[in-house]
Symmetry: C2
Subunit: 156 residues, 2 copies
Amino acid sequence: MSTDPPGHDLPLRLLLGFRVLVDGVHAELARRGHPELRPVHGFVLQAVGPSGATAVELGRRLGVTKQAAAKHIEFLQDRGYLERATDPRDARRKPVRLTGRAFDSLRISAAAFDELRAGWARTLGEQRLRALEADLRAVTPGAAFRLDLPGWFAGG
Amino acid sequence: MSTDPPGHDLPLRLLLGFRVLVDGVHAELARRGHPELRPVHGFVLQAVGPSGATAVELGRRLGVTKQAAAKHIEFLQDRGYLERATDPRDARRKPVRLTGRAFDSLRISAAAFDELRAGWARTLGEQRLRALEADLRAVTPGAAFRLDLPGWFAGG
DNA sequence: ACACGATGGACAACCAGGTTCACTATTTGT
DNA sequence: ACAAATAGTGAACCTGGTTGTCCATCGTGT
């Protein structure tokens, strides 16, 4: 009797929205000197954070194994986004830190996300956009971001 | 001067929302006799559709190569979700059709997505949810679903 | 002081999913 | 009739995830 829209439209739109925003940011990143960065790398750099992280910590934050985290570290270190440090208190730990280049990319990302959001605000109105954000927060868990998109999606 | 929320929250919430819905549907699918189906498979079955498809057509609909599509076909055929047919007009084509098992899984998925949507409607109110759907449609392209999530995200 | 368990890092093997390249069979069009 | 386009298949390769294994280092309890 109700004429509710079909439920399958919602997940599609959510994913599409995610892709639109992330693609927009990475187009800007590519323009501004970071063409090698893929969506996944932004999340990794974000997870490393200003205080750095070890492979184990990074894996925990991202919801993947330490080995998977180590592969990302190697990739980003090779390209100048991370640098290794040592921990004088614990010779086992080999924390990585963000380089200037990494901070530069994070600044560009943040600005691009803000600009994209402003575009949505122009389309929807700030009021509606805030409602959208609030509603999404209400129906999603507060949980941290999980990096295992490929495996989750396709079944690793 | 404005105190706009940071733009980076939006993509996270969109992705989280997608995951919540898809995880919910697949939990239900697993309970109802389809534990092997991964998120990606739902999209493949949807893309095959009631009228069937060949590997080339499927690849086009999903935005991946025909070889990638063929791998999905092989997987789903082995598990009884797809069956091969022949085209008497063109011996090159080997279209696949959905089996009864596939239709069963699609019915379960549709019902689960509707139920999940109803849950969101209970939380947000039907009004707000419709606004959310309309707003998402307004800021996302009408484009079809692209299957290349793993490669897109991590850089294949 | 020392042995033992826990922790961090690294390496190898494996699987999934995507890609490109190459090849065969069939159809279509000139 | 023959050449170009199309459908399917297989192989090699890349990435990113996993598990399993091993070694070095730290912390703890006896």
